[in-house]
Amino acid sequence: MRSPRSLVGGSPASQYTVDFDGRALPAQEGQSIAAVLWSAGILAWRTTRDGGAPRGAFCGIGSCYDCLVTVNGRPNQRACLVPAQEGDTVTTQEGTGHAELAV
């Protein structure tokens, strides 16, 4: 079956895992967090602060801010821009991502 990887050939140099809401997801060096999530079939990792609606990557280039996610405790990171690092803990972001501040 054709795949993005078969199209460009080659083989991944190294693989490591990233923790997403308690799931270990495979990641390759330099892949964005959004790409890691998409490759695991996960399209939503944020809920909106007003309607609680699920959101994920939309523009893919850092313009829309829909893909905001919490990485290693830091909220509001653009998943489509931030490379997934070995050992990262990524968590679904709810609302503003600052719930613990009670603001």
Partner: protein
């Protein structure tokens, strides 16, 4: 990564050593236009500093698979890869020779006039450190982002930008689904559908709101660009090979699903893009890649006061001289900022601007090529300009502003009951455009809804004093002696 100049103080024009420390040219953006301009200018003897938000050169068009993916054939996902590869090699050579300072991961958020030089302020790296660069001339090659026209269900996971899907595929080798409808308007859709299918997705249809017959009146521009016709034929061939239906004068008017998209409704449009009753049908899918062309990214240019013009596609672009001069002396621009035209045109314009900035005569071959490609771009832009009645598919309960979750009904109320006539007034009344993206996604739609029924997506240039989020400590660290016109543009003045 090369060392950042952030540890140096900004050049002080009163200090004789200051201007001497400035580069001859600062290029903002390392996409096709900026990269071509930088290597050409360095080749002509200028000392150049390149600042780019990306970690590797190429911009949004020439995006590389992440290194760890080990892609042996990145060119399989690109058109005209050698045009990029030769210039990337030239960039590396100039950097080694000390003629170019290349600063990846630098997001320029404002440019300030400092007497004989410009100071560019950037946010750099993961930690958002402050960095400044000074230069005698500035070339803005900031490119574009995708234009989106909303419809009910467009916030569902699985609905992604067409360019976004392409970007994620090129850089991350990932797809948003297995069965992906591609919709919107413009030639990018054909390229995206071809890439997605080549990468293993099934694409049941490309849904194009314009009619390709609109090109018929532009025979001269088409015939002068045989390479562009061949490119079109390549995309057409890819559609045939992958058995992808091309539905012209149709639009996706709704996406269905609960947690993610499960199907889309496609309807036939009249000449003004009004959905025709009784023509709706459902196409099952697990993703939708949608976009209606591109919008020039102009924050830095409009912040400097550069004059703009209306492009044939309805977007606002910079009003540039043929050699890339903006209306502000010392500020130049090339590529999509002057109107959407593609990578080939962007490269040509970057080279032209570099010659002009270096005080050299511009080779005739370049000016001819630019004029030919610009004519094609204008013909294309006109053919895919959104029709005035596209808002007919926008139900009152459909979200328009994704960030602030403002539905169309609230915007119509602001326009019809409260008298809002422009996007700025709507923003103040409804918060549409006030969120993280600062109206980049909803701006055209809000302007169309505010401007009454006849308006399409026309809008005055968006004014965003800051081009990206900036830590407050950087604002606090700006010199106090900014000229008044710049101080007036700091946050709050336009909010």
């Amino acid at each position: 990564m090369p060392s950042s100049p952030s540890d140096r103080p900004a050049a002080d024009p009163a200090d004789p050593a200051g201007p001497a420390a400035a580069a001859d040219l600062a290029v903002v953006g390392a996409g096709p236009a900026g990269l071509a301009a930088a290597v050409t200018a360095a080749g002509l003897g200028l000392r150049v500093t390149v600042l780019d938000t990306g970690e590797r050169p190429g911009g949004q068009f020439y995006r590389h698979p992440a290194p760890g993916l080990g892609a042996a054939r990145p060119e399989a996902l690109h058109h005209a890869w050698p045009d990029f590869a030769t210039r990337e090699a030239a960039l590396r050579a100039h950097v080694s020779a000390g003629r170019i300072t290349y600063l990846p991961g630098h997001h320029v958020w404002t440019v300030v006039a400092r007497q004989t030089a410009w100071t560019l302020h950037a946010v750099a790296g993961d930690e958002g450190a402050a960095a400044t660069v000074t230069a005698r001339a500035v070339l803005l090659a900031t490119g574009a982002y995708e234009r989106q026209l909303p419809f009910p269900g467009w916030t569902l996971p699985g609905v992604v930008g067409a360019g976004g899907a392409q970007a994620m595929l090129k850089a991350g080798l990932v797809l948003p689904g297995r069965r992906i409808v591609v919709a919107g308007s413009g030639p990018l859709l054909l390229a995206v559908a071809g890439s997605l299918a080549a990468a293993g997705a099934s694409v049941p249809a490309v849904v194009e709101a314009s009619a390709y017959t609109a090109y018929a009146g532009k025979a001269a521009a088409l015939l002068r660009n045989p390479a562009k016709l061949a490119e079109g034929a390549t995309y057409g061939g890819a559609l045939l090979r992958h058995r992808i239906r091309l539905l012209t004068r149709h639009a996706v008017t709704e996406a269905h699903g609960t947690d993610r998209v499960e199907a889309v409704t496609v309807a036939r449009l009249d000449r003004d893009w009004r959905p025709l009753p009784g023509t709706a049908r459902r196409i099952p899918c697990d993703a939708l890649a949608v976009g209606h062309g591109l919008v020039p990214q102009l924050e830095l240019a409009t912040g400097l006061g550069c004059a703009t013009r209306r492009s044939p596609d309805g977007t606002v672009a910079l009003d540039l001289a043929a050699d890339g001069r903006t209306s502000v002396p010392g500020v130049w621009s090339a590529g999509e900022t002057g109107g959407i035209g593609g990578a080939g045109l962007a490269i040509t314009e970057g080279e032209i601007a570099a010659h002009a900035i270096a005080g050299r005569s511009v080779p005739t071959a370049l000016t001819r090529r630019r004029s030919r490609l610009r004519a094609f771009a204008d013909a294309m832009a006109a053919a895919h300009r959104p029709g005035p009645r596209w808002t007919g598919w926008l139900r009152d309960d459909a979200v328009v502003c994704r960030c602030e979750e403002v539905p169309a009904g609230r915007i119509r109320e602001a326009a019809e009951d409260l008298g809002a006539r422009d996007a700025r007034t709507v923003k103040l009344l409804t918060r549409a455009g006030m969120g993280w993206c600062q109206g980049r996604m909803c701006g055209p739609a809000v302007a169309a809804l505010a401007g009454g029924s006849a308006a399409s997506t026309d809008a005055a240039p968006d004014r965003r004093p800051l081009s990206c989020p900036v830590p407050l400590r950087h604002l606090a660290g700006l010199p106090a002696d900014l000229p008044a016109e710049h101080s007036a543009e700091l946050p709050g003045a336009d909010g």
